[in-house]
Structures are given as structure tokens and as C-alpha cells.
Amino acid sequence: MILLAVELTHVGRFRETIRLGPFERGITVLAAPNESGKSTVMRAVARALFDKHTTRGDEIKSLQPAGTDLAPRIAVEFATQAGRFRIEKTFLQSPRSLLRQEIAGSWQTVAEGDGADLRLQELLQSTLPGRGATRPEHWGFFGFLWARQGEPTAWPALDEEGIGQRIRSQLARVEIDPVIEALRQQLSRDADTILTSTGQPKAGGALRVAEDDLAAIEQELASLRRLQSELEASQRTYQNALQQVALLEKEHEDKKRIANETQALAQKAEGVKHELETRQVEFTTAREKLSAIVHDYDLLQQRAKDCEGLQSKQASGQAAIGAAEHRVSACRTQREQAQSARPHLENKVQSLRQALQRVQSLLKYRSLLSQHRVLLRQTEQASETVTRIQNLRAELSRLPNITPAKLRSWEELADRSRSLRAQLDVAGLEVILTPDQDSAIQVAEALKIREEILSAGKSVTLRSPQSIDLLLPGWGRVVIHSGAVETKTLSKDLTAAESRLQEELKSEGLASVPLAREAVARSQELSSLVRSLETALKQQLESQPSLDLLKDSAARLLSRADALEASLALTPAEREISQTELESEDARLAQACPAAEAELAALDQKLARLHTEEREAGSELQRVTQAHHTLSLTLQTVQSQMEALKARYLDGLDAARSRAQVHFAEAEARWKALQAQLPPDFEKLPERNRRATSVLQQVANELQQRRAERDQAQGALESLGGQGLYSRETDLEEKRVEATLRRNAARLRGTSARMGQLLIDFRKEAATRSVLQPLEDRLTSTFAEMSGVQHRKVFLDDSLRIVGIGPSRDSTHRFEDLSQGAKEQLLLCLRIAVAQELATKEPQTLILDDSLVNTDPARQIRIGEGLASLAKNLQVIVLTCHSDRYRDFQQISLSP
């Protein structure tokens, strides 16, 4: 709907009829000062469009001019998809309502009174309250698109039923199909009768009742099952006891038989055992007697045999004694022979050793003398070299101490002087003298006066750098000066160079540079010579660090030679003998001496061996002599024993043995015959008998216990078996099936209904979410355009409420926390977005009644400009007291 025109009579401060309009699409500014009735106009329009003409209430009465009872009369012309209409309503006194439609250029009545109100309600899709005047939520889209004065930051709830849902559905393009909504509600109701919102069975619902019934049945069944378990346990106990009783009865019989048999056997064995003991004594006596006789017999036989052996050994022992004595004698003879040869050999070795020692001392003496001579020669050479070195160093020390660098410096200075002088010569004075006669003149130059001899008629040229001082004989002194600056400079430099050179040479005691050069060359030559002599001296000293030590060494050698000579007391022959002969003698003695020593050692070894052999032969003789004596004693003892044994048996040993054997065999036969009558383990019979009796008693006890258990289990089984457990279980099972069916059916109904409801809710929300993003984008760009602030995104929730603004959904400034200005700007944007969406189906009016009171003037102007571009498809009516901020838009006044 869009407004076309408004006429007010008796409304607020408009006592006379006032007509506003025509309103066009786009922006229309209703500018007037505060309290001039702008908002009253819009309130009156809303009352005319949405309230029944018969409504009486404060909201209607507030339209009356202050202090009057005049009936407010309002006419509103508007357009919808259905056409152009005009509603005229008079409230309070003589209320009336007339709806007309423009048809073919003229207004034609459509309905009057309540019919007009109802028809209007249909056209505008508005609703009525139960009683009283309407509120914005009853005004359809108009209520949402009117930003009312004083409520610029209030936003209607879009999640309410009715118009809120319609707006929401259109914005979100979600089909809120009334059939689907009814289906959702029906499913929700069905689910709620069975389940709670959290999926629990609802108290009193079919599912809870069935579950309670089932629980009770299950409890009874569990009790029954326990009885059945007891029955089964008793059955198992009974079966086990039955089997065990059968086994134990059989075992008892077996054990009883065994115990009886064991007892009889034990008694019989006891009698046999007593008789056996008597027989065993007889048998033992006969066996011992026979054993003694056999022992004596065997002993006699053995002694006779021993006697023969001893006699044989006695003869052999005698022969061994003779052989041992012979061997002792032979060993002694050999040892004495060897012993006699030893002193001669020992003397020989001694004399050879002494001769060898003397010869070696002589050789040492001569060697010392020889070494002494060599050292003397080295000492002389070294002394001469040392003297030469000292001389050279003395000469070297007398030479000026000029380094090659210093010499090079002087040479460079001399070269520079020469060069300067040559330059002066070229640039300096030149005096040509040609005397008429021979004469001598004096030329003063450089503080010296030289005489120059001149020949008559012959020209002599004198040159000087700057001046020439001549003493001409007969004429006087002639000084010629040059005025040239260059020669002055050259002359000055030359003087400086020469002065410096002379001073430096003088400081070293030298007259000229060539002399310096010679001194340097000599110094280098002497140094080289000293170094070569020092090398030679080192070789002459060999290992000695100095000449004095070399001399000490030679003196010590001589001293040692003298001492050796004194100790040797040399004979004249020894002094005369040559070195070669002496060395030959030394070699001969060196061989002869070890040979004699070896011969002596071999003789000593032989002597030791002969000693050993002699001792061994003595020992052997002693051993065989002792053995022979022992044998003789043993033989005597054996012969005595044999005689004693024979004396025991008067009728002979063989006869006695035969009698004893017969007695033994008879006693043994009687004993064995009786032993065979005993059981094999007759010793264990008493123990076996006791054990068998004990086992029998144990089995009897066990049998009695098992029989008691069996009887007890049998009693329990008969008692439980007769209770008809199965029949009771049947009854409960049948009830359980029925309750289970009820429960399953209820659960299925409830779950299905809940799932259906949840799926519808989910899809509705999903559809909303799917359009949220583009709507947010549109809002964001609109807000940026109006506020001039970029890079802030606007976020909405599922109910299309503004959540806040910020860079991301997780970090927004909440709408509640924004400034009033930002809030009203955001809501303006949202209203524009909503209006644009709604306008795609039907023209819409957006009313902004002082909706930017918190926004600064500059921004209001920009918003106004932005509105112009955004509201092309809308009708925007701006109520403001600042007409200057909207001067580019159509403005209407409130003048009658």
C-alpha cells in the first residue's frame, strides 16, 4: 500500500480541514516545526486505516482537538494491488465509515460501516485486537515500515505469529505453507501427548503408562526367573547328588570288601611271621658255622701259596744285593779318575785369564795415548781460528756503522745534488773571459777560492748558478749576480741538499759517498769471513762447547794414560812390542781362555753326574738289602700261621667243611618254605588294614552327606516343581507382550511425530539461514552508504534481528551496545531492506517520523541523499522539523 492523500478534520490542532498530498513514489518530506502536528497526521492515518470506526478509546480521543468534543474525521486515499481506494472515517460522535474505490476516474462506494472496515482489513491484511484500539502489530506491513517518533531504535518482533511471520517469510522467501504449519502443529501436539520436549516419556502418556506396566511385569518376571534359577540350581544339585550317591554306594561296597580282605590277610601273616623268626635263627647259625669253616679252609690254602711266593722272592733278593754292590764300586772308580784331572785344567784357565787381562790393559793404555794426540792437534787448530776471528771483529768494529739503507739515502741525495747542479749549470751564469795576456784569476765559489789560469787570447768560460765572484788581478773584485728566480730556487735546493749530505757524512766520519760505499762493502766482506771461521771452529771443537773444555779433555786423557802406565809397570819388551802384535796376542788369548773354561765346566759336570750315580747305586744296595730282610721275617710268620690252623681241626678241615654244608642246606630249605607262605608285602599289611578301615569310614560319611543333599534337593524340587512356575510365567509373558506392543506403538507414534516436527522446524530454519547472507550483504552496503563508514558488516540472527556490526560474526559490537545514532541508522537500513523486499509484490510506504533524531545534521543530509537512490521503488514520507536537510526533495507543508 502507498498513500496518495490525506484529509483531516477535527484532528489535533487541525480544527479545519487540511489536505495533504498528493504523495508520490519516492521521497516526500513533510517539514514543519516541532509540535506542529506532523506525527498527529500519521497517527490519524493509522487510525483511519486500521481501527474500526466504532472504536472508542484514549487513542481515538487523543485525536480530538484539545478541549473539544469534536468528532475526528479522517479521509485517506491509498493504492494497493487491488486499485485506488479512499476511506473516510468519523470517530466518536456519529461514527461512520465509507470505503470507496476509484473506478473509471470516479470514486465509487465499495462498502460502508462495518463492511467498509472489514473490507479495508482484507485489503491491508491487518488484524483487530480483542478489544480497544489497534496497535502497530495489527497494522500489517504498515506497522513495521513506520518508524514512529520516539521509537527510532525499536524493531518489531519478526518471530511473532501473523504479520511478523509474513514479513519474515517474504524476506526469507520461506514458504510458510499453512498446511505445513498445521502439519507441524499437529505433529507437535501428537508428540507432546507422548513425549516431553527432551524426549522423555510424558507422565500419564501412553508410553509412560506402557513402560510402567512393563516395568511391573518385568519385576514379577524377574522374581519368577529367580525361582526358576533356584529350581534349575536345585535340579543340578539333585542330579549331581544322585550321581555322586550312586558312585559312592558302589565305592562303599568296594572299600568294605577290600577292608575285610585286608584284615584276614594281616591276621594270617602274623602267625607265619612268628614261626619264620625261629627258622631264621636256625638258618643263620648253620650259615655262620659253614662260613667260618670255609674261611679257615680258604685261609690255609692262601697261606701255603703265600709261603711259596715268599721263598721265591727271597732268592731273587739275594742276587739283587750282589749286583748293587758291583755297581757302587764301578761308580766310585770313575769319579776318582775325573777328580784327579781337574787341578791341572783349573791352573791353565787361570793363567790364560791373567795373560788376556794384561794384554787388554796394554791396548787400553795405547789407545789413551793416541786419543790424547788427536785432541792436541784439534786444540792447536781451534786456537788459530779463534785468533783470526778476533782480528776480523776488531777491524769490523773500526768501520763506520753504515747500513745499506742509509747508503742508499746518501746516494739518492748525491744524485739529487748532481741533478740540481746540472740544472743550475744550464740556467745559471756563464762568463767568458778572454785575457789579453796570460793571467791568473781567483774565483770564489762555495766559500772556497780557486785559482783559474787564463791563457792569452784563449777564452775561458766560467759558469755559476747564480753569482760569480772573481778577483781579477789588476782590476779588483768583480761580482756578477744573476737575477733569475728559478736559479735562485735551484741554487737554494742545491745548497740544502749538499749541506745535508755533508752533515750526514760528517756525522759518520766520512768524506764522501764513494768512501761510504767502500766502507759498507768492507763491512759486508768482514762479516762473511767471520761467519765462515765460526763454522770452521765449531767443526774443530767437535762436541766440545769451547776451546778451554777441549783443552781440559786432552789433559784428562793424558792423566788417565799416565795412571795406567804407572799401574802396569811396563816392561821394556812391552814398551817395544808393536800394536799389531799386541792386537794379535789379544785375539789369540780371547779364543783360548773360553775354550779352557768350557773344558773345566765339562769336567765339573761329569764329576757331578758320577757323584749322583754313585749315590743311587748306594741307595739301591741299601733298599734290596732291607727287602731281603723283610721277606725273611714274613716267611717265618706265614709258616707259623699255617701250623696254628692245622692244629684246630683234629680230623681234618675237609671233613669239617662237608658236615657244615649239609647242615646249612637243611636249615635254608626249612626257612624258605615258610617264607613262601608270607604275602609279598606282609610288612605293610597292618598299615593297609588301618587305611582300608579309615577310607571305608570316609566313604560312608561322604555317602551319608550326599544322600542328605539328594534328599534335600529332591524336596526342594518337588516343592518348586509343583508351584506351576510356567503357568505364572505364561500369564506374565502374555501381559508383557501386550504391554510391549503398547509401548512400542506409543514410542513409534511419539518418535515419528517428534521427528516430523523437528524436520519441519529444521528446514524452516535452514531456509531462513539460506537468505540471511544476501540480506546481510545488502544491509551492510546500505549501511555503509548511509553512514559513510566502510568495512563494517551487519549481522542478523535467525529471527532477522540485528545482532551487531563488526568484522566478523564472532567479533561484533552488539546492537544493544551501539550508540543511538548507529541504532537508528541500522534500523532505517533494515526498514528500507524490508520495504524493498515487500515492494516487489506490492507498493509500500516507509514513514520516517523524526527517526534520525540522534544522527548529526551532516550525516542526515548524506542519508537523505542515500535514500533517494535506495527508495526509488518505494514511497518514503519523511517527517522532520529540519526542512533544510531535505531541500532537494519534494516538500509539503501543513498549512490548511
Binding site: 505453507d177 505445513i180 507382550v737 528446514r763 531456509a767
Partner: protein, 412 residues
């Protein structure tokens, strides 16, 4: 001529959980049937009434039932009755049904075989029986008959009696007392009466091994139950002549009511109910609703059918209907309610998550770009404590049906 009635698997005291608390009359009917069979035997002066195991459903049935049975047997004193404990009521010991005090005063014409034994049926006929003493065993109980039969005169007619599963390949469990298919021949029996399975089974071992099934059906679909075997043997070695004698008290019948063709279904229903109208207390009926219908119509129909089934002993109504939309209707649904279309896709996705399988033919969803993720599904259902992993295919079928039916209702 030896003539006797061979029965088995009376299962007195049986449980009928599928009917909830309606089991009592069904149990009572089995006792009525036993009385009828005994009466037949006495009336026809048969030589014996054999019960080849499972007279009782369980060893722990009520004493009152045991007393009733003992009293019933006492009323038919002219018929020798031979009872064999089966796997449901094995002779296990003091707690078993055969040790109840009631049996101590049993009449002499009744014998319970608590262990393998022989009993003369006539001058030249003997009964050899091998009872069960445990609930499960891998031993063929007919083996005990071999020695017993061998001890009988060669000229005698030898009747065997035992209980277990015939060892038919693929049809028995190894621990279910497997009985050789040549058990009668092996023991030299003229006839071997066996009990265990509840349907009539003959023609084993040359017609000498017979399993008569239960004389009173206990479930729908047992078409070969409700009979006893009348056996006539002229002389030893001759093939027995066996006649099935119907004894069943109750008739177990089912009908499918297809809503796709309701008129035809109604006609069939009328005919079906008419057949049992004369003896409603003997009818155990089940009507299964199939096809598609509006919820309101379905509720109305269910109410009507419940009323019509009420006079019968047991009337069970099973709802297997499915609200199925035609392709045109389905297309319209997707066009009109795109959000619901998305939700059907979500349900398919949930089913995939929960069962690991695609919805397949039950799916009514369209391909969508916005598939539900597993995290979303878990979060969605988790808010109401619905465990995705606990949901089954049936839950999703029901959910689709719920949505479609509720949609029908709110659309109306």
C-alpha cells in the same frame, strides 16, 4: 487286528503370546480336544491310546492342569493310555511334571514311560517306548528301541514310541533328538509313532514312521495340524494302515482385506465371517488390512471390523495398510509443499545413516541439493534424545506414513 490311536504334541498349558491376554480359552480348547480324542478311542474300542511326547508344554505347568488331565484319563478307563515324556516335558527328576502327587493315584490303565520299556498291547502285540529325559540331545532316542524290540518274540507285532526330530537333511537341529529315517526298519518295528513337529507327516521309512502333528493347531498357517493317527495293523510285518482323524476344537483362519479393492474385500469378508458365524467360539481369526486409505476411513473401517470380529473366540486385526500416493498425487505434493518434499528427502537420508541402506522402493522423495549431514541429523534428533542408530527401517516407513496421514488430515 491291532488298532490304536497315535497322538502327540498336545502341549497342554501352551503360551499364546501373540494374542496377549487372550490365551486362556485357547489353552482350554486343547483340553477339550484331548477329551474328544479319548472319547473316540473308547467309543471305537481301540487297543491303545498313544501320546508320543509333549503332553504338557512344560514340566512346570500348574498342578490344576495336571489334576485335570489325570482326572480326564480316569474317565476313560477302558482305553489303555501310554504316555511318553517329550522334550517339553522330559522326565528329568523330582521337579518334572511326572513326579507330581497327582500321578501317584493314576488309574492302572495309564502308563507313563519314565524310562525305556516294553508293554504288551495284546497277546501278540507289544509296545516299546523310549522316553526323553532331557530337553536337548544329539542321541537318537529310537536307538534304545532296537534292543527292546529284539527281546520280543519275532512273531509279535512291535509298535515303537519315541519323540524327536526326523533327521531330514536341512530340516532338523543336530541337538534336537535326531531320529533316523530308517528307525522303524532298524529296530524291526511294524510301526514307530513319533512326536515333535506339529504338522502331519507320514511316508517315512516305507510308511512305518508317522508324526501326526498336534491335534489342536496353535498358530496360523499350520494347515496340516489338528489330527490324530488311527493305526490298524493286521499282522506282523504288514504295512500299517493309517487314517488321519480330525480332532481340532478350534479353527485358525486368516483373511487379507485389501483396501485397494474394498468392495471385493468386503464380499470376501462377509463370506469369511459367515463360515464361522454358527460356531464363533471355535474360531480364531486374523484379518490383515492392506492397501491404502485415508486415516479417517481406516479408523472407521478398523472400528467396524473390530465390532464384527468381537463375537469370535479370538479376532485379530492387523494393520498392514500403506498410504500410497499415485504419481500424480505425489507430483502435486512436491509442487505444493516443497518444504515437505525436502523433508521426505531428509527422511531418506536419515534412514541411510541409521540403517546403512537406501530407502529404495518406499522412498517418496525427490533428489535435492540440500542433503542432511550426519552431524545435522545427530544434532537434530539428539535434542529429543532420539538415537539415530536405534532407528530401523520400519521406523522410517512409519514416519513417512505418519507425515502423509497427518498431511491428509490437516489438508482436509
Amino acid at each position: 487286528m491291532l488298532r490304536f490311536l497315535h497322538t502327540a504334541d498336545w502341549q497342554l498349558g501352551a503360551r499364546f503370546s501373540q494374542f496377549g491376554s487372550q490365551g486362556t480359552p485357547l489353552r482350554a480348547a486343547r483340553l477339550t480336544t484331548l477329551q474328544r480324542a479319548l472319547d473316540y478311542a473308547q467309543t471305537h474300542a481301540l487297543d491303545a491310546f498313544l501320546i508320543a511326547g509333549d503332553l504338557f508344554e512344560d514340566n512346570h505347568v500348574d498342578d490344576s492342569l495336571v489334576v485335570s488331565v489325570v482326572d480326564l484319563f480316569a474317565n476313560f478307563s477302558r482305553v489303555p493310555i501310554f504316555i511318553l515324556p517329550g522334550n517339553h516335558d522330559p522326565f528329568t527328576g523330582p521337579d518334572c511334571v511326572w513326579q507330581r502327587k497327582s500321578w501317584r493315584k493314576i488309574a492302572p490303565h495309564v502308563r507313563v514311560f519314565t524310562e525305556p520299556g516294553t508293554h504288551p498291547l495284546s497277546a501278540d502285540a507289544f509296545l516299546v517306548a523310549s522316553p526323553l529325559r532331557q530337553k536337548r540331545s544329539m542321541v537318537d532316542p529310537s536307538l534304545a528301541l532296537v534292543a527292546l524290540a529284539a527281546a520280543l518274540p519275532a512273531s509279535a507285532i512291535k509298535i515303537g514310541l519315541t519323540h524327536g526330530a526326523l533327521a531330514i537333511e536341512g530340516k532338523h537341529q543336530p541337538n534336537d533328538f535326531p531320529i533316523s529315517l530308517q528307525a522303524a526298519s532298524r529296530a524291526g518295528l511294524d510301526y514307530l509313532g513319533v512326536g515333535h513337529w506339529h504338522n502331519w507327516l507320514v511316508d517315512t521309512d516305507g510308511g512305518r514312521i508317522i508324526m501326526p502333528g498336534t491335534p489342536e493347531p496353535d498358530r496360523f498357517g499350520h494347515d496340516q495340524a489338528g489330527m490324530g493317527a488311527l493305526v490298524e495293523i493286521a499282522q506282523p510285518g504288514q504295512k500299517p494302515h493309517v487314517t488321519a482323524i480330525p480332532f481340532a476344537t478350534l479353527s485358525w483362519q486368516t483373511l487379507t482385506f485389501d483396501l485397494q479393492n474394498e468392495a471385493a474385500a468386503r464380499a470376501a469378508l462377509d463370506s469369511f465371517l459367515a463360515a464361522y458365524r454358527s460356531h464363533p467360539d471355535k474360531a480364531v481369526l486374523r484379518i490383515t488390512l492392506t492397501g491404502s486409505s485415508s486415516a479417517q476411513h481406516l479408523a472407521t473401517l478398523q472400528e467396524e471390523l473390530s465390532t464384527r470380529l468381537a463375537p469370535f473366540l479370538v479376532g485379530q486385526l492387523v494393520d498392514d495398510t500403506r498410504l500410497e500416493l499415485s504419481p500424480v498425487e505425489l507430483e502435486a505434493l512436491h509442487q505444493r509443499h516443497p518444504l515437505l518434499s525436502q523433508i521426505f528427502a531428509d527422511i531418506d537420508q536419515l534412514e541411510r545413516f541409521a540403517t546403512g541402506q537406501n530407502a529404495g522402493s518406499v522412498s517418496i522423495a525427490r533428489p535435492t541439493d540440500s542433503a542432511l549431514s550426519l552431524a545435522e541429523a545427530q544434532a537434530l534428533l539428539g535434542s529429543s534424545r532420539i538415537e539415530l542408530a536405534q532407528l530401523t527401517r520400519a521406523d522410517f516407513v512409519f514416519l513417512r506414513q505418519t507425515l502423509l496421514r497427518q498431511l491428509q488430515e490437516v489438508s482436509a
